[in-house]
Symmetry: C2
């Protein structure tokens, strides 16, 4: 996160770099291109901007209803962050919970979300997630996504196990089959390296198309690809029914994320793919879309500081060590947080421990835990050597430089908490835990650091996924949005597995409403 | 703040009311009016939108440099919230501090701001305040503003006394003399009941004028005056050099503030004048101005729940009871916060005590304190009967229903802390306090509740007060902003007396730069 001095220097530096690199792009009185005198290169019923969960879900629902769909993706591959995310999906009140006797409710889910979200979530949108989550599960299964059968994950910040585990071990478990399904539909066209630039609006203020560039090559070496990259050939596509914005968040937008939170410097790592920038969001503001809660950046508290981006260790750290094991401060040998809390609470606690001297916390689990998790979760980090395997706990402590005696005491104390069902230090829910079995080696340890993962705010939508105008307080005709480009669902901070549900559900809802 | 249920209901209700009342305003592809084919009714060097501190400071500096200025104000009176605010002004490192041996520094001021601002303040803007604060003091004194001589207020959240006290007891102490000064300048025209509607931009993307309506009548009975009010006659004014946005915050924008924070319901009271809406801010986003940190709403923790809006009791509660006295929870008779902390910390603590049963905290001071403060601070609340005067502390406890024995013990404990110079409960800085003199009646008590006071976020500006485009990361040519319509200076929450400095300084800076 850097000191104040570092932040300021870097912000100024970023500003200067941009100033040097950018040939002043012309600002104009136009918020969008006027439909009058505009010739469309082709016209579809729906144009979808972005190809992650929300975009694919919308495209599928619209296409299944018989509409023609063009999906544009600026990167060379489809799927956006959705393809590389953890991929598990919350589903409050579902049949697996019922079969296992897990009591869940609408109210409990919303209460959990509001806790990490600091109370500013838009509950009318959370209600849509509860109402539709089982439809969303069925819908993705119909597309070919597979969940681990009869399993409910107990994710951080959730009061009960309520998340389906995707068999593939990442969001590709939805993206790959959805892409294949869409590829087979004759009324769906998917174009990569196609960058959205502008809206086309008619006289009545309806969004009726998009201006984009084909053959666009994203350039991660630019200070701002959105501002500086001029590659590709201009095309204008009409959208008879709607334009759907599913362009994701801006965790990799070096300039815009630092404007919102100056503690984030250009070198701050993110779990996101490099194309996660704010361009489409900002363009939507120009036609009067309403911004909300844009300054809340979420860190993912399970990352590994020694690999770039999302890496391959996140699922292991999260589901083995945080869900079922424990996390300690090397300097004290002791736990310092509820390892099952929401992401904001844990990231804040970790950043305090890490401080300025990179004192990364150590996340720990035992062999029984490793056998209880998805085997894919441990395979990759072992190959990447981000996880250390020790035959004894003292050996583990020596390897990482953990204060040994205090640590061994702390493991006993933690096991005592598990036995009593009460965490006297951090009030963690322990009823689904077995503690660490000291007599059964091996033991696993991994260093932990938060990285920017999700931008909570974005465009205001209503329960039909329509984008709301700040000029009229009504939907902008012809414009829908879903997923990370929108705000409100998660408030100040979201719980794990809720974004997958959010993006798929509002993508589905948008597709349904466009087809109506 | 209301429960989740209440919030949701009210948001939906607000949405429905708007839907019913609004004749769909046309959305268009235009972000602004094009200068081509536009006939100006008149042209000035500078058009200033808004007439509070930032607007008047900019108008004065530009006019003094020989430029012609049109200042437009949508309400019937000039001054906006600036005219009714507390009016005291922070000035880190100033001659009065030096004469009194108070050690202050740039670093200490910025550290104080970052603490309540949760670290997300733009320190490059805070540095401008430090660099220019003594110029700002001289400038307002030249206009005729008068401070209490040789006095430094020790405001909540500030580590040392560093704020000038305005003699008039409110922001009118600047607004009245500045208005009179501007009235005498022949090159300044000030128009009330003139509502900004749009920007005029030329082909090069420069802001060259404004569209407004004269004879506009703000209507506080509308769900959204910005959306629904169609009064006034259209006029278009050219601006050769610049348009200055000084239109303030949106604490009274029922719809937009609830979008940002759904806990805030239409009935949530605010200290602001009714015209504090988001219209100009939102219009600026359409021409690509960069939004930042818009979701942070600040509550003022010194308000009285029994008077509407800002009321007449704020200065008494703040400067008598919180700066020098103490605040207790009726139910426990005990203190529950550092009464000298920043606004966010205190508002959060008070909201927790108030809960759902309106258990308003009681702020208390003694007669010595009342004689130490500006006499105007106690006169109005005594007349309004918001303050209760008791001859003994038990009488005060009985009147408000404070748990008596615990309270009397707590007063002794507080006096002990003052004597020892150490607050063992809340780490309040007590070196400028004398405690409560139990043997010298009378005693004063007043109920306390937070009200929405300031919207922290807004448009991104640079250190020259130029509005930064999200499309180019460069200034939007011809566009400046200052005061509450901008964001970044205060981060998540501002300290008292810093907004007066902020608005006056960046108004002054804008005027200077426009005149260059």
């Amino acid at each position: 996160m850097g000191s104040m001095e570092t932040s300021r220097r870097n912000l100024l530096k970023a500003g200067t770099a941009a100033a040097a690199a950018v040939a002043a792009a012309p600002l104009t009185a136009q918020a969008a291109v006027s439909a009058e005198n505009t010739k469309f290169d082709a016209t579809y019923d729906v144009v979808v901007v972005g190809s992650g969960f929300a975009g694919m879900a919308c495209a599928y629902k619209a296409a299944k209803a018989g509409l023609s769909v063009l999906m544009i993706e600026k990167m060379g591959v489809f799927g956006g962050n959705s393809a590389i995310c953890g991929g598990n999906m919350a589903c409050p009140v579902n049949p697996v919970q019922k079969a296992q006797g897990i009591k869940d409710s609408r109210e409990l889910f919303i209460k959990d979300c509001l806790k990490d979200g600091l109370g500013i979530n838009h509950t009318e949108l959370l209600n849509v997630l509860v109402d539709r989550c089982n439809d969303t599960v069925k819908f993705v299964q119909d597309c070919g996504a597979e969940f681990v059968p009869n399993k409910m994950l107990f994710e951080g910040g959730h009061s009960v196990p309520r998340s389906y585990e995707i068999k593939a071990g990442s969001g590709s478990g939805y993206i790959v089959p959805m892409y294949e399904t869409l590829s087979k539909l004759k009324n769906v066209k998917m174009q990569s390296r196609t960058k959205f630039d502008d809206f086309v609006m008619n006289k009545d203020g309806r969004v009726v198309g998009v201006v984009c560039r084909e053959g666009y090559r994203f350039n991660r070496n630019l200070a701002s690809d959105d501002v500086e990259n001029k590659t590709g050939k201009r095309k204008v596509y009409g959208a008879r029914r709607a334009v759907m914005l599913a362009a994701g968040g801006f965790s990799r937008d070096i300039w815009f994320r630092q404007v919102q939170d100056p503690r984030v410097v250009p070198s701050t790592d993110s779990t996101n793919q490099p194309g996660a920038t704010a361009g489409v969001l900002l363009k939507a503001l120009e036609i009067g879309a309403t911004p909300l809660q844009i300054s809340w950046l979420q860190f993912l508290p399970y990352c590994n500081p020694h690999e770039d981006g999302f890496g391959v260790t996140v699922n292991f750290t999260n589901h083995a060590c945080m869900d079922l094991g424990m996390v300690v401060n090397k300097k004290t040998g002791k736990r310092f947080m509820d390892e099952h809390a929401g992401r904001k609470i844990k990231s804040d606690a970790e950043l305090e421990v890490i401080g300025t001297d990179k004192n990364y916390p150590i996340a720990i689990c035992d062999d029984a835990i490793v056998h209880a998790i998805n085997p894919s979760f441990v395979k990759a980090p072992l190959a990447a050597k981000t996880v250390f395997v020790a035959q004894t706990l003292p050996e583990l402590a020596d390897h990482f430089g953990i204060k040994k005696d205090a640590f061994l005491e702390e493991v006993k104390r933690f096991n005592g908490f598990v036995k009593d069902g009460e965490d006297k230090d951090f009030h963690r829910i322990l009823k689904f835990n077995n503690g660490l079995n000291i007599s059964k080696p091996p033991f696993y340890g991994v260093e932990v650091a938060p990285k920017i993962h999700h931008t909570m705010g974005g465009l205001l939508i209503n329960t039909k996924a329509q984008v709301i105008s700040s000029k009229t307080h009504q939907p902008i005709p012809g414009l829908y949005a879903g997923g990370e480009i929108t705000g409100g669902v998660h408030g100040a901070s979201r719980l794990g597995t809720v974004a997958v549900l959010d993006a798929l559900t509002f993508g589905m809802v948008a597709g349904e409403n466009i087809a109506k």
